[in-house]
Symmetry: C2
Subunit: 576 residues, 2 copies
């Protein structure tokens, strides 16, 4: 028999050892970037990041702690990977935090400012599961777009003044070009005027398109005379030259599960700020897309603030700020492939038509798919994938489990129907960007709750088409409640026809198509100078009740149409 | 005991069965492309090629027989692979005959004309061993360069007339652009005048550089007035706009062993005609690089006819015709990486500097390497690779077997010394191309025998440098015999200073450097209007004997220097 004190001692020793082991294990699982930063690499911490991430992989660490303050990152020693990123530009990219294949990892910043020089993607999550990113800010020393102050506007030309340190330019072969940008990427694709005082797209400003080639002469003193026939602009405002590429989203989330990004700021990106594809359970909490504080830029990200294609599980955007980005705050959708050949009995040749969707491989054995008339968006039939043969980034051969009916035609489109994300957008502020607010295209439940919108186009937009963007939409259950829509629609007429609008590409049989279903808009406040509250078509069941409409005179309404509620080809409309 | 007739019967049966099996096997190993071409795919046989190659792989076929006549090939259903190709442009490429990983295979054409439409690489041999390609011709419906007839030349402008079907153009933003070429690739990088009658670069023509942006106005009637200050040109001659990319070599041979390409014509390519890297035992026999017969083009390939980097075993060019390509007939060399960091005791960080060498991974465990002073090309020390860590397409970390000496500095260059190819160039005709003839940089035996040269630069050129092209040369044993050098050097002075010339980038300690060794030039005929026969430096042992020199008046010699033999910083010179 043993005596009790010995037993106690043994228990105590065993517990200590276990505790030591656990503590050792915990220690070994946290890696501090600071331990990798030596004095000689202060001008480029990429080698330190690289070594730290390699150690995280090797040691299966579950936390990488970043120091506070500014870290400068250059492309030279960055990771490299060819990425197809939906609605951005594919390419062989340099990547700073390449978390490909990592699991159960937290990147813990502490007001950590990642200052990028050149062409680097800050974060790639690629087949990464259970990832948390917290407390980082992303900016680029030289932005990928350009801005100039409008000095003088005449019929044939506009005079501009540049801050040459921030936005270096040159006149090359008689054309305005932006220096410090590699060949093929220095191009600007569109020009948009921003109100300098309000720091938002100018009232009724429209997109002027340019293929990176506007004729100009240098006037000296950092001033340029730009020849653009008939451009409307206002002296003292800012002209933004949109970035001609989308090579460098700040966060690429591809084929991941359970990703939380919080307390994180994207001050600039050469593409979207956050883009997720084929991923489940993605949340952005207290994230900001906003121009870098202390700099005089009016633009933040050069494309959408967030974007989700073929995601599932949930998409949550909570307590975020999305402002001054050069495109929509979010777009949540599936992707349609075009059927280019029907090989009976059971085979389809399908094409990813839009260039920014090339390489978006999503068909899998066992996946449920729908075949849709590309013109009417009418459902033709459902099917199940049995085999997928990728031909190249554009074409795939899909073999189905069952024979096709005779109703399937070339030109029809096909998308997956196996999963859609439940969407929650709550407590967010969305303002002063180019174009629209939320593009909603998930067929699972969508809740848009307690957000503030001040966007120049439609804040709530239901898209989807099988002919141009090839984005699958068709909502089934949308709750829009307790939001403030504050003077939306002050920008280009092409950015949406009302606060709540459908913009789906339905070109035939509209009278029979009910592409969207079950939208409820209630208990919101509409502060509106624009009389157009709702403009929808092809919707079954739309309820609009208990909303407060307050007319303002904050902007002048210059459009022709003034009807508050337009509903065409809809059923079960209930507007109170 | 058995009786004899039974034995005989058994033997007969066994032999019959073996013969049947063998015959079955032989049959199953030959695949006929014609069996895959159905009437509905006549406008694009790529699906047939794809299926045939997939079957070749599946059935381990050793012959793919192509039908005679013209086959049209489009990019849509082509194979796709990211290729780093030395001295050409990297990228995600569409490929028609992707022979990656195939062994013991013959592609047997029968005067088969592969007519490509768009951006397709005709042949990729990639880790392919024992490959024969026989009897194919390669052309593109729309070439990647452009040509125009010079109509009128004034001080400030040149008027050009285009054949718009063959070379479609447009004036875009006041600049001459070439249509039907995707964004970023429609650029032309240089302009060169060709003699219309002689169908060769015009006498004393120089490269005019352009970044794809020459100011121009349309004069109507397919004529263009091009503003290029001070351009020298002659009416009735042809102006060639060099292709601004090298995306589409006709034959890419990468990491292969034992490749024979014969009776094969490259009428056009958007890059080099034949390029081999890290491959052993490559022969081109009776191949032609020449403009398409029956078309009015003066240009064939848009870059070198052939090119070999870090190859071993043998390189044989026998009975070939290389004419009218936009760069040298061949360049056989190794590749130097620049040392960007020396991490004592045994680690180097090295960089592939030249953009066209990015992704040229060649270091391997156990490989012998040399470290060289990049300015003097002096040998510093030898080493052996123990470990290679690829950082990205530009940087690699090399760990060595033994510690480095203190003499190794940042900026020095490093190349492999484990193998070099034995080179035989025999019975070839090389003429009317831009630039030089043969750039010889192998340290194994080189024999240049019984060839005919009529090139506008130096037909025999020894290059190599550690500062610009980063090409390893330094010949050890070169025999140049029984060739005819017919009026070479009629082009730009920058294309070489004599018929046999050194052009290596040796910038210091020339007096001590003997970069090239053992060159023997004998029993050749030099028909020359240009008095400069030999211009060499940093050579140890150069013998020039039993050659016949015949002065001609076929071209006017307009340069200042007239010395026939210049040898500086050389030892053991023997010129008779």
């Amino acid at each position: 028999m043993r005596n009790k004190s010995v037993d106690c001692l043994i228990v105590t020793i065993v517990m200590s050892v276990v505790s030591m082991l656990l503590s050792c294990e915990n220690q070994s699982k946290t890696i501090f970037l600071n331990d990798y930063i030596t004095s000689d690499i202060q001008d480029d911490v990429m080698p330190a990041i690289r070594n730290a991430i390699e150690d995280c992989n090797r040691l299966k660490a579950n936390k990488l702690v970043l120091p506070s303050g500014h870290l400068q990152i250059k492309p030279d020693f960055a990771f490299e990977r060819y990425c197809f990123v939906t609605n951005n530009d594919e390419g062989l990219k340099r990547i700073a935090f390449d978390l490909s294949g990592m699991e159960d990892i937290e990147i813990q910043g502490d007001d950590t400012h990642l200052d990028f020089i050149g062409y680097v993607v800050p974060f790639l999550l690629n087949y990464s599961n259970n990832v948390v990113i917290d407390g980082v800010s992303i900016d680029y020393t030289t932005p990928f777009h350009s801005e100039a102050e409008i000095v003088n506007v005449q019929k044939d030309f506009v005079d501009l003044k540049f801050d040459k340190d921030e936005f270096p330019y040159e006149i090359r072969n008689g054309l305005l070009s932006f220096a410090n940008k590699p060949t093929g990427s220095g191009f600007y694709n569109s020009l948009l005027e921003f109100d300098k005082q309000k720091r938002e797209p100018a009232h009724d400003a429209v997109d002027y398109w340019a293929d990176g080639a506007v004729k100009a002469v240098d006037l000296g003193n950092d001033c340029v005379r730009m020849f653009y026939d008939g451009m409307k602009a206002t002296p003292d405002n800012i002209l933004v030259f949109g970035c001609g590429h989308r090579l460098l989203p700040a966060f690429i989330i591809s084929d991941c599960r359970n990703v939380l990004i919080k307390n994180t700021n994207v001050f600039h990106s050469g593409g979207m700020a956050f883009v997720a594809q084929r991923s489940m359970d993605v949340e952005l909490n207290r994230c900001k897309v906003t121009p870098a504080p202390g700099k005089n830029r009016v633009l933040s990200a050069t494309a959408d603030a967030t974007h989700f294609a073929n995601c599932g599980g949930f998409v949550k955007l909570t307590d975020c700020l999305f402002e001054n980005q050069f495109d929509d705050a979010t777009n949540i959708h599936g992707i349609y492939c075009k059927i280019t050949d029907v090989v009976y009995p059971d085979k389809l040749i399908v094409k990813l038509v839009h260039e920014a969707q090339h390489g978006f491989y999503f068909f899998k054995k066992g996946m449920k798919i729908e075949i849709v008339d590309n013109q009417s968006l009418a459902h033709i039939e459902d099917a199940v994938v049995d085999e997928v043969n990728i031909i190249n980034k554009v074409y795939q051969e899909i073999v189905l489990k069952e024979p096709l009916s005779a109703f399937v035609e070339k030109g029809f489109v096909v998308a997956q129907t196996s999963y859609y994300p439940e969407v929650t957008i709550k407590g967010c502020t969305i303002r002063s960007n180019r174009a629209r607010g939320l593009l909603l295209g998930s067929r699972a439940k969508i809740v848009i709750d307690s957000n503030y919108f001040h966007v120049p186009g439609s804040p709530i937009y239901f898209e989807g088409d099988g002919s141009y963007w090839f984005e699958q939409s068709g909502v089934r259950d949308v709750e829009i409640t307790r939001n403030v829509f504050d003077n939306c629609g002050f920008g280009s007429p092409s950015w949406g026809k009302a606060t709540v609008a459908v913009g789906s590409g339905i070109w035939k049989d509209k009278e029979n198509c009910r592409y969207h279903k079950n939208i409820r808009v209630h208990d919101n406040v509409f502060r509106h100078f624009d009389p157009r509250i709702v403009n929808i078509y092809c919707v079954d069941s739309f309820d609009f009740y208990d909303n407060i409409l307050i007319e303002t005179a904050d902007y002048q309404y210059n459009q022709m149409k003034k009807e508050a509620f337009i509903t065409t080809n809809c059923d079960n409309i209930n507007i109170k």
